[in-house]
Amino acid sequence: MLRVMRLGTTVLAMGAVALAAACGSSGSSGSSGGASASKVLVGAGSTLVAPLMSQWEPDYTKSSGTTITYGAIGSGGGIDAITTRQVDFGASDAPLSSEQASACKDCLQVPWALAAVVPAYNLSGAPDHLKLTGDVIAKMYLGQITSWDDPAIKSLNPGVTLPSTAVAPVYRSDGSGDSYVWSSYLSSLSPDFKSKVGVSTQPAFSTGTGAEKSSGVAAAVQSTDGAIGYVTVAYITADSLHSALVQNAAGNYPAPTTDAITAAAAAVTTIQPDGSVSLVNPPASAASAYPISTYSYAIVPKSSPKAAQLQAFLTYAITTGQQFGPDLGYPGLPSNIVQHDKQVISQIGS
């Protein structure tokens, strides 16, 4: 009988230990686990900055000993994750809305990468670098232009034979900073798009296919003839996609080179009170600016148990880390932004 009670107790104890392990893992990576946990910074968010982040991760770990864990789940997910403090830092190409800012409770936005969102397309029988305008692209996403040989597209590309393939728009189905930038750009040029779809990390697209993450959009474009989607430059080169040239306010069609993106950044120097800068559709005075450029932001809480590590990592990102950018299509941050960032970073406390 004693053996039975002992056996029963052991079994119960095993179950209890398992349950305790589940409940006892309270707090984010900071509190439990001891030394190993505090040498980890966990972040999540934007897929636009993910290629750059994947260069930062090993380099920063080597130089500082802190491991960076990053989940590229999309800007919407990053904002949500930092709001619920499931991670130490979020990453988003879309600045926090006022509702998100108050939900995040004293979060700081630090622009730490400069990038461009590029229309990618797959059209057999057509050359690379077709020319498009924001208005035409908006009509494609509204289902008003349905085939690639539409007169509107033809008039922008004289001398190019366009097949009559159906237009298949691809958009991000998850919460995406790329979607925010894309919909901002199209909304600024097409009031129709603005009223029907709107500006958001999850705009109300009515036609087309949804895909998750930048890689999903790239995959969908790659596999569908006639598809058009939007991703950052790094994914174009990585997956050998065709990219379209977009007309800027000055009437030119700049390629999304680091120079063109830098020109866009130079044209908009005012930083909003919440720390964000919109580079979409810069004025015509910036003749060579790429019209769909954007900053990508790190979102950090003003007070955090890992304040020192966050400050160190962010400082690395906006200075040394920028060296990895140009090869992937991210120009270095302009100096006024770096100055502003250093100020913001110093506000992070515990």
């Binding site: 398992a18 893992s25 990576s29 946990a37 966990v42 990053y70 992937l328």
Partner: protein
């Protein structure tokens, strides 16, 4: 339910009889084709996975972690370790509760209660795994962060009905003569269960566990909520989120890069091999266990 015999005899001549025979044969042919279709589908999927995944299998595939963006190489070492740890913890949670449930149902519960518990287990088994993911996410992840233990808890819930039902089937196979023998010798019910019935059924319990683990190893839905942001290194601390094989397949399947896709196929090959092997071994073991128990009659 009456049987209407046809007016014309089946044997012998007559167009009617011939037509009935032909219809009968045609239907039997259709049934055989249906079975062949299922087998063909199975072979099609396994064949695709094997053909496309095999080229990427190499020693480095099993000993490297995921490669950085635009870099080739990389492997699923951290995913394998993660899946092993997650399913291990889930098994430790689910097996005690499942076996105890089965014991309760077979030894202690009056028939109405045991029927109710059986129905509850079947209902739990039918809850979509994505709903279980939403449940665990709200309970263990919101406010605390992701962790492998949270994923294990979700997997344990998925495994529980499988283990409890199969264990109950095995326990019921144990002949009453064994039970009565224990009682006749003056043992308590508890002692009979623990020293006679459980050891006899241990083969069946192990089988049930193997099949349940094979099922849990392939579950992706709960992992999306509980362990989708993880370090690109081998993680062994269960309070941290970890990579896992099904989630790796999920993310790489939607990637445009050909090397990512090939890694997805290779990881799928590893997963399918483990899952199918576990299912086949489970099936064969259960046949053997049944035969063994029958021999004790």
């Amino acid at each position: 339910m009456s049987i209407t015999a046809s007016p014309a005899p089946l044997s012998g001549g007559g167009a009617r009889a011939r037509r009935r025979r032909r219809t009968g044969r045609a239907m039997e042919l259709l049934a055989t084709i249906a079975a062949l279709l299922a087998i063909a589908l199975l072979l099609l999927v396994i064949g695709s996975v094997a053909r496309r995944g095999a080229p990427a299998l190499s020693v480095s595939f099993f000993t490297n972690v995921d490669a950085a963006f635009l870099q080739s190489g990389g492997g699923i070492e951290n995913s394998i370790v993660g899946t092993l740890i997650m399913t291990g913890i889930a098994t430790a949670m689910a097996v005690p509760v499942g076996v105890l449930l089965a014991i309760f149902n077979t030894e202690f519960a009056p028939p109405p209660l045991s029927a109710a518990i059986r129905m509850a287990l079947n209902v739990l088994a039918g809850v979509p795994t994505i709903v279980i993911g939403v449940f665990i996410s709200g309970l263990l992840v919101v406010g605390r962060g992701q962790s492998a233990v949270a994923a294990s808890a979700a997997l344990a819930i998925i495994m529980l009905p499988l283990i409890a039902r199969s264990t109950e089937e095995v326990l019921l196979l144990v002949p009453t003569s064994l039970r009565e023998g224990g009682m006749a010798l003056g043992a308590t019910r508890a002692r009979t269960v623990l020293t006679v019935i459980l050891p006899t059924s241990i083969g069946g319990i192990i089988t049930a566990t193997i099949v349940a683990v094979a099922r849990a190893a392939g579950e992706t839905a709960p992992i999306i909520f509980t362990s989708s942001i993880f370090a690109n290194a081998v993680v062994t601390d269960p309070s941290q989120p970890m990579a896992s094989i099904p989630y790796t397949i999920f993310t790489k399947s939607e990637s445009p890069s050909a090397s990512d896709q090939q890694q997805a196929w290779a990881a799928a090959l590893v997963l399918i091999s483990v899952v199918l092997l576990g299912s086949i071994i489970g099936r064969l073991l259960s046949i053997r266990t049944r035969r063994q128990i029958e021999q004790t009659r």
